[in-house]
Amino acid sequence: MDKVQNNKAWFLVLPVLVLVAFSAVIPLMTVVNYSVQDTFGNNVFFWEGLGWFEQVLTDSRAHSALGRQLAFSGIILAIQIPLGIAIAVCMPKKGFWASVCLVLMALPLLIPWNVVGTIWQIMGRGDIGLVGYSLSAIGIDWNYARDPLHAWITVVVMDVWHWTSLVALLAYAGLQSIPQAYYQAAKIDQASRWSVFRYIELPKMQGVLLIAILLRFMDSFMIYTEPFVVTGGGPGSATSFLSIDLVKMALGQFDLGPAAAFSLMYFLVILLVSWVFYTIMTNLDKAEGR
């Protein structure tokens, strides 16, 4: 719709533009600057062109970090989305217990990232941690600091614990917006519980679920704090996801050029994925026809 244009409104946006320039645009440009130059210290820079990008693209270390990252995001989406929907469907729709459930669900979301990491770091320990000790007691030699599989399981379980409730809350909101008449009609049609889910609840939740997937994908793709606290990216580099690897590269080894090129590509990947999601969602809206 082409509405009547009023250009005065742009002035109101100006403060935000300035703020965004300082907080995002200028740092981003610095990164771009680093990504095409090399330095040997003393603030002396040499033009590198696309060299760093080439290096990162052909670097097997970056490849494996990306592989781990995709695997991690895929796994947690595959667990959190169905689990979140299941929880939402099972939650009471109204009354006292609905409020209790909502508060309980919101709790993990309120805990700071590094605290979550710390909680699970301790929980998983074989000597004092509840989970680690229990597992050891039933004969499993649990050690996430040594066994890559154990490290992965710990990190995935931690993320599921931390974020499934977000998916559940979004799905719950989607369910609440379904008019009662739909359930009554389904009853009259003698639809099974599965049919009600498949043909009413799932289609009506579609919009919020897409948002949930997008949020969870982006968030998990950028995950840093929790695995850093729990495993520090180890053992070896078993849980070194993209951002952990990036920090190692930039701060640990002070390879500013490759790190800058790396982060730019990282940024582009996220942008691309978000754009794909956005397109899907707007197309769905259109198909809805309102």
């Binding site: 009259i188 049609d189 003698q190 639809a191 049919s195 043909y199 198909a287 809805e288 026809g289």
Partner: protein, 368 residues
């Protein structure tokens, strides 16, 4: 199919209703005969939706019983009652095709695929969507979706009753005609018991064999459309049915004459002087405009051309009186009196109709 009996029914949304005002639905006894088409007519908040929900099993009444045949179903749910219902706003399964939507209730009951296909074809033809059976329901217009809802409500032939809750709200006027005719044709063909809730008198009167008029949680009249038009039992029915509604004028009634502000009006029957607030009621259809000194002198406000007829808006003693005049009728000069057809006048005492002791002459039943 089955006869539905409401036995001593009443409902209140409050846990401990004290006075009669606490009841959304007041004392009600009624039998819905098998195979008839009923309309429940009333303004919003009159209790008609409450009654519908009690019949469909979505609401358990605070008092009384519902019987399907001889079976007490008061505490049974909708499925056990084997009822189909169409809601006010379209309810469709978005991700299914139109055909699958129609087939859904049949599939859930394990009907043979060939029989389903045949039945779906028939219903699709009825709602005029044969050529869209394959497309997804998502993205259809609201009235197309409502047609699917109607179709799904009528696809099962073995239901005890079909309930309609203002089903044509979202439908265009022209389409309303089409769909209502189809419903009526379907009723003639299958003889389902149908209960149709609406606030629209035209829909109610044209659809139903019997119309139940509700007002303030009470049934004020049950009758054929003719009964409601000719002899409204309550002034509310007179007002609610007809457009404009019945004219009501305060009067003193004695014998076969009514006196309104000193003017004598002949009545079609003989009345013993009724008690309370006495009014005479006459439909605008039976009011004619005359000259001379017979009839009620009125002040003419304006004439509205409604196409197929004209509505004369006038006032008598500060109260509106309306008359319906034929299309193209030219008002005679100096016409300022209204004549009421005597056998069409009803007498009301405290809003309820008083039956005449005997009719004066054979009523000539013909509208203007």
């Amino acid at each position: 199919m089955v006869q539905i009996t409401l036995d001593n029914l009443a409902h209140s949304y409050l846990p401990n209703p004290q006075s009669e005002d606490d009841f959304a639905l007041k004392q009600l006894d009624h039998v819905w005969k098998d195979g008839e088409a009923y309309a429940l007519l009333g303004a919003s908040g009159c209790g008609k939706s409450t009654l519908l929900n009690i019949i469909s099993g979505l609401l358990v009444p605070s008092r009384g019983r519902i019987l399907f045949g001889d079976r007490d179903v008061t505490h049974q749910d909708t499925v056990a009652r084997n009822i189909a219902q169409v809601f006010q706003f379209p309810v469709v399964y978005d991700t299914m095709s139109v055909g699958d939507n129609l087939a859904f209730p049949l599939r859930n009951r394990g009907m043979a695929p060939a029989a389903i296909a045949a039945q779906v074809q028939k219903i699709a033809a009825m709602i005029g969507m044969e050529d869209q059976l394959g497309r997804k329901a998502r993205g259809l217009t609201a009235d197309a979706k409502q047609k699917i809802s109607l179709g799904r409500g009528m696809v099962r032939e073995d239901v005890n009753a079909i309930l309609f809750d203002e089903p044509l709200t979202v439908i265009d006027p022209h389409m309303k005609w089409e769909l209502r005719t189809q419903l009526k044709a379907l009723h003639n063909e299958f003889g389902h018991t149908m209960i149709y809730v609406t606030h629209d008198q035209t829909e109610a009167l044209t659809f139903a064999d019997k119309v139940v008029v509700m007002h303030d949680g009470r049934v004020v009249q049950l009758g054929t459309p003719e009964d409601l038009f000719d002899t409204p039992e309550h002034t509310f029915v007179g007002y609610f049915i007809g457009s404009p509604g019945m004219n009501l004028i305060d009067a003193d009634v004695a014998g076969d004459t009514a006196h309104c502000g000193g003017h004598a009006i002949d009545l079609g029957g003989h009345y013993r002087a009724p008690q309370g607030r006495v009014q005479i009621g006459i439909r605008p259809e039976f009011v004619t405009l005359t000259t001379g000194d017979h009839g009620l002198p009125v002040t003419i406000k304006r004439i509205e051309d409604v196409g197929r007829h004209q509505i004369l808006r006038a006032e008598f003693a500060g109260k509106p009186v309306n008359a319906i005049l034929p299309e193209g009728f030219a008002m005679p000069a100096g016409a300022n009196r209204l004549h009421f057809a005597p056998d069409r006048i009803n007498v009301y005492a405290d809003d309820w109709r008083v039956a005449p002791l005997q009719a004066v002459a054979t009523p000539e039943r013909k509208a203007v």
